[in-house]
Assembly symmetry: C2
Homo-oligomer: 228 residues x 2
DNA sequence: CGGCCGCTTGATTAGATTCAACCGTCGTGG
DNA sequence: CCACGACGGTTGAATCTAATCAAGCGGCCG
């Protein structure tokens, strides 16, 4: 009965805007590559809850986690954003402060900043973008319902499988290289529980582990565990 | 560290559109009162997952639950919509099928239907509505992050308190009259667990119970339990 | 009156958290 | 150059929360 949507599939990073940047590389001043870029280490903060946005960020390289602090400061990660994606514009559109945090998931993550003025100017000078935004934002809203249902009704084992399926794709089917703690915060469980579960998967020959790197061996079984 | 946002506060029912109807009562053909209205019994379906929307619905009277079927058909309720609110337009805006269900939460719930054509016509003839929609949808997106954090990190006791606080307001501070099963599906727990918890609250003199009706006695304590 | 449905309670079980300890690696400073 | 400490990762044991299973209650409707 449940949809077959994967965990963390909700596009916190509006892919519908990605080609906005690609288009602009050819035509005008919005090319993010023209802007100064920032090199970040793991856990360096890009923006924080409560602050007002001054602009948006384009990810050049690496991965970024979007999360919120819950009980006892434990992070709940909602999304992992990849290079090419744009983050931090929802708070501009809603005219509220950020209610989530963004930080680099790995070392050598590279981002560039685009000012709120530039973003708003572009938005206002492109009326067709308005409809596109409405459609994309509505689609994202729908996806959150699936995400919540997964998070509340699936077991930790299923959610762990979902997170691995998601990361398998985020890493382009290469080895996954994420801190255990971040992995646990994606799944919404304790680090110890997560470690026990990935060891189960290893024993079942679904994945292999070398230090912190996880290699997915049997993606289909992983998907079936996630959807069970 | 966590925000003080209440459970189910995410406006699945876009209040930003409510006065769209109020305005129109005076000026044109969009008055929902002019349309035929439907009288629903508890659990009668308004729309279902997978179907394509043919229009939107305005709630005249009663309460409507928005939910999704998860594991073993168990409902996860995301939002309770009140009279005056408008539901079912996100699927029109996203151009996807519905991915949630809507049904009457109580007997004698009254809704009216407004066709997709009417809705789209109105949207297109009101350019300022576009910006309003973008702002509202973005705000809702932000609220989902709080909702997920609450659902994954708060205990069942805390979530039960949150749900009661929300319903206290939905019922305008009158007695809450919701099926135990629906209450459990809002909280994301088993019906038995929910019953045990509201009995605890009763013993602590935070609420009183007469048959299925729940009267909130000490709203402040309830709020502090929810936010602990 | 009978049966069904929603509600309630008790007992048991299972899943996951928590606490505690330990290991290995890396980077730093004496 | 080595010692130390910090940090991330791992394992085991105990605990606890909440789910599940089973049974019984009460009211309402046909």
């Amino acid at each position: 009965m449940s949809g077959n949507r994967a965990l963390h599939s909700c596009k916190f990073c509006l892919s519908g805007l990605d080609d906005f940047f690609i288009d602009n590389k050819r035509s005008n001043s919005f090319d993010p590559v023209d802007h100064d870029s920032l090199l970040l280490k793991r856990n360096e903060i890009i923006f924080s809850e409560g602050k007002y946005p001054k602009g948006i960020f384009h990810i050049h390289k690496g991965l970024v986690k979007i999360f919120k602090y819950g009980k006892d400061g434990k992070e709940q990660i909602f999304q992992i954003c990849k290079s090419g994606e744009v983050i931090g514009f929802r708070a501009i559109l809603s005219e509220n402060p950020y209610n989530v945090n963004a930080a680099a998931l790995e070392d050598n993550t590279e981002i560039c900043f685009i000012s709120k003025q530039d973003f708003n100017h572009y938005k206002e000078s492109n009326p067709q973008l308005q409809n596109r935004l409405i459609q994309e934002l509505s689609t994202e809203l729908q996806e959150w319902a699936d995400f919540v249902t997964d998070m509340t009704q699936k077991t930790v084992r299923q959610r762990t499988a979902l997170a691995l399926v998601f990361l398998y794709e985020a890493y382009n089917e290469k080895e996954i290289n994420v801190a255990r703690e971040d992995l646990a915060n994606m799944v919404g469980t304790a680090t110890e529980s997560l470690i026990r579960l990935i060891n189960e998967f290893k024993k079942e020959a679904i994945i292999s582990i070398s230090a912190r790197r996880i290699k997915v061996i049997d993606i289909e079984t992983l998907k079936s565990i996630a959807e069970a």
